[in-house]
Subunit: 213 residues, 2 copies
Amino acid sequence: MKEGNKMMFQQVLPAEIEKRSFEIITQELGNTELDPLQAPIIKRVIHTTADFDYVENLCFSYDAVSRFQQAILNGACIVTDTQMAKAGINKKRLEKYGGEVYCFMSDEDVAVIARENQTTRAVASMDKASKLQKRLIFAIGNAPTALVRLYELMEQGRIRPEGIIGVPVGFVNVVAAKELIMQCEVPYIVAKGRKGGSNVAAAICNALMYEMV
Amino acid sequence: MKEGNKMMFQQVLPAEIEKRSFEIITQELGNTELDPLQAPIIKRVIHTTADFDYVENLCFSYDAVSRFQQAILNGACIVTDTQMAKAGINKKRLEKYGGEVYCFMSDEDVAVIARENQTTRAVASMDKASKLQKRLIFAIGNAPTALVRLYELMEQGRIRPEGIIGVPVGFVNVVAAKELIMQCEVPYIVAKGRKGGSNVAAAICNALMYEMV
């Protein structure tokens, strides 16, 4: 590499890159006051997106971080609405606590039921998840219809999630679906507004686990 | 659902949600002038992130969209630096053109070599990819070190990619690594600045394919 180009780069050991990134994020947050339990979650989402909007966007129900972590300690499984989020969640770490990650979006039965009911595969996936006899955390990074369906299933008493990570991204019914979840009694971590994504959903799951002993 | 809550939602058929989303994006872009070949790529990245910053951030080398699409038509494979990006790329669509998606990040040999060389797994992954006897597009959504390594491999004449999608996200050497790629002769699509991600990398790959006949 030319000398001029080399000068553009910081010398940081591979193992130190993440640490240095979090230092930069903390520095740029300056005097922004964050709840100490929420801070690592918010910072990891910023680390994943380079988007400081999440300082304002991320909303936590009362005592959410502790409740999600307790659920994971109790062996809760995580249900996601995308293969990308499933790929991004640290599954080895979750296994240590006895949990696993499910995504039913590519299942043939889900596709068939969604077609029959003229609904989304996300809705059919939530219905499938509601039949699992397990403690469940939902990590929704894509489909607002998944959040709406979870609301309905909770209203009907057909499901009682340990918590909902509600961070779908998008332009159609995304904001409303998130507002709906924030009306519920369920522990939630929600990214208000349009922003979010599978990467954000996975980052929140991982941040919760990385703060656990 | 209560009537008040129902009113928050637009009635949009599942199959129409994406179409409606793109309409909203187009509407909000207003008079922003976009190159007609680049527009679908930029809009799909906004669709994936709800972040209009990408209108400014996304940089295309001369004739990049056509060149990437030609490479895909010629059966190019895509190498990514995360399992998340691999999960997000439409692999069935790529297979139609004869390509497949590789991600070597979780390979045991890559981990061993990275440890031995005190480098990142992303660097070792790029070295592994350089030995593939195939047309390759690189879609880098996470590791700036992957972009730096691609630069070095090109300089040394050890690799000649069909194109590089350079959209790592982050705070350490991300900006510089992207600037480096934009100095190269290789066709590129790069998200200038800190923003990007596996989701963005996958969205660009998919947008390229969805505009192909």
